[in-house]
Amino acid sequence: MVRHGTAMIAFLQRLGWSLVILIGVTFLTFVLAFVIPSDPARTVAGPKADPQTLASIRHELGLDQPVPLQYAWYLERLVRGDFGRSYVTGQSVLTAILERLPATAYLALTSLAAATFLGIGLGCCTAVRQGSAIDVAALLGSLVGLSIPIFWLGLVLLYVFAYRLRLLPLGGYGGPHVILPASALALGNAAYYARLVHTNLIAVLDADYIRTARAKGLPRWRIYGKHALRNALIPVVTLLGLDFAALMSGVVLTETVFNWPGLGRLAVDAVFNQDIPMIMGTVLFSALLVVVVNMLVDILYLIIDPRMRYARG
């Protein structure tokens, strides 16, 4: 009973902090869009808007009201799903984002799966052979992998695999088209996860319960697979959440290189068009996404690691 209660409290605590951060995120975007610009109505309506439109927007968004009230109305609009309108196409920002979301999810999840798979595999191999030449090569390789600019890697992959070898399509969307952008996006993450799994696994392999498992005469694959890896992977799960924001940054660059019709491209195109509502909308939306993903990961963490129920209660 007691255990159940502390888990519930920990869960509610996480939920509460996520809510605070969610509000913080909206406040920051509000400040960027409506407080910093000298004429917010113009940033909403675009540089070509005529005075009547500007006046009506000022009235509509309550820009003549005190700032706290403006923020309250801003929140109320967000809750209704009103993220503003693009002043290039006139389309609702949220609609545009939701249209592009599947493409981004497709790319990001494919690359995340590849990175996790590769990273765990490499991390295990190098941890088991600690101190060998493979281990040193993996260390240097992962540091180099972390250092390569994603967009450059994307261009090089395009040149080699699509243009010279003609193995994969040059650009486009769907099916085999995802392979190159997902690889470009996955490399850095794979290097990072490999390092992380490596370090954690080595620490876990030193633990008493692994020695016990060895003493019991369990087969090696069971010790690694069941006892060690499981515990070594727990911190990786939290990182998947934390790194989601970094993944989104990578998505922006990869989508630009490969002309992938996702959220990142939407934001970059908006920058070129000086379409402020669209930029702010995509930035806010991706931050909200990050908060929600992190909250889910936190909850998952509570479920898979029983120790957390006591630690944070």
């Binding site: 902090w17 605070v20 951060i21 913080g24 995120v25 406040f27 920051l28 960027l32 910093i36 610009p37 600690q130 101190g131 281990d135 260390l139 540091l143 180099v144 972390l146 250092s147 390569i148 600019p149 994603i150 967009f151 450059w152 890697l153 261009l155 090089v156 040149y159 243009y163 390092r195 992380l196 490596h198 370090t199 080595i202 934390l242 790194d243 924001a245 970094a246 993944l247 989104m248 940054s249 990578g250 922006v252 660059l253 630009t256 990142g264 934001a267 970059v268 920058v271 070129f272 000086q274 402020i276 930029i279 702010m280 995509t282 930035v283 991706s286 931050a287 990050v290 908060v291 992190n294």
Partner: protein
């Protein structure tokens, strides 16, 4: 992050430092090292860039300019942006981290939630939004990069300061009535300096990549001598006929980041520290 202890860390940090030193030398000695003027067409190759071959070591671009000279001069702008932006990042990050860690209570709660909020934004997207609001220019890029990348430093420094705070000599100084600012300057900062140096090296990797990404998206520093990221973005149209135009600046970026990663992770292993934050 790195196991295998101090010896390996020392080697890694040493190599990184040598690589970084070479880079600084190249940037400083650019006028003597570059065989050609980076801004002038030296080869009569309009529309058809020359492939890497003597006398043009790394080839020429679509306007007949020498790529090697441009990369050598590009080191100046790329390094200036990276190092200045890192200093600004450290300034914000250390201030936030020290205040949160030292004063604790509500100061800590407010500053750490602020950090969480900024951390929730994908750095590049937030940088894009800020860059769209700020007037284009060198100062704007520096501020934008610093504003989106201080969070990792703040978290790590905070953790360090919190554990320092409990140590006897800090407590003794506090009891003796040493004013907070002086206590921080005299006793706290010197003790977090090693952490700040490690975070500085790791932040440099971050700022180099962020600056390259922004430059690639066309939001970088608008100067006549392009940064490496800008060179890649400018050559994108020709990547099929003249891949060397994007390959070499990319290698230069990767080299720089590798150098600082070696320093950062090497020092981390050497001092047996682990870094929190991203």
């Amino acid at each position: 992050m790195i196991s295998g202890g101090g010896e390996r860390g020392r080697l890694l940090a040493l190599w990184g430092a040598l690589m970084a030193l070479l880079l600084v030398v190249v940037a400083l000695a650019a006028p003597w090292l570059a065989p050609y003027d980076p801004l002038k067409a030296v080869a009569d190759s309009f529309g058809a860039p020359f492939a890497p071959a003597p006398p043009y070591l790394l080839g020429t671009d679509e306007l007949g300019r020498d790529v090697f000279s441009r990369i050598v001069f590009g080191a100046r702008i790329s390094l200036t942006v990276a190092l200045t932006a890192t200093l600004l990042t450290l300034l914000i990050g250390v201030t936030v981290g020290v205040c949160a860690g030292y004063f604790g209570n509500w100061v800590d709660v407010v500053l750490m939630r602020l950090t969480d909020v900024v951390l929730s934004f994908p750095a590049l997207l937030l940088a894009i939004a800020l860059a769209a609001l700020f007037p284009p220019g060198l100062e704007s890029i520096l501020v934008v990069i610093a504003l989106v990348s201080w969070t990792g430093v703040a978290r790590t420094v905070r953790a360090e300061v919190m554990s320092l705070r409990e140590r006897e000599f800090i407590a003794a100084a506090r009891v003796l009535g040493v004013p907070p600012l002086r206590l921080i300057a005299r006793h706290v900062l010197p003790n977090v300096l090693p952490t700040i140096i490690v975070m500085g090296a790791l932040s440099t990797c971050n700022t180099v990549l962020l600056d390259a990404g922004l430059s690639y998206l066309g939001l970088g520093v608008p100067v006549p001598i392009p940064s490496w990221g800008r060179m890649i973005s400018d050559s994108q149209m020709y990547y099929r006929v003249a891949p060397w135009l994007m390959i070499f600046p990319g290698l230069a970026i990767a080299y720089t980041v590798v150098a600082f990663n070696f320093i950062g992770y090497g020092l981390l292993a050497l001092t047996g520290r682990r870094h929190g934050g991203s």
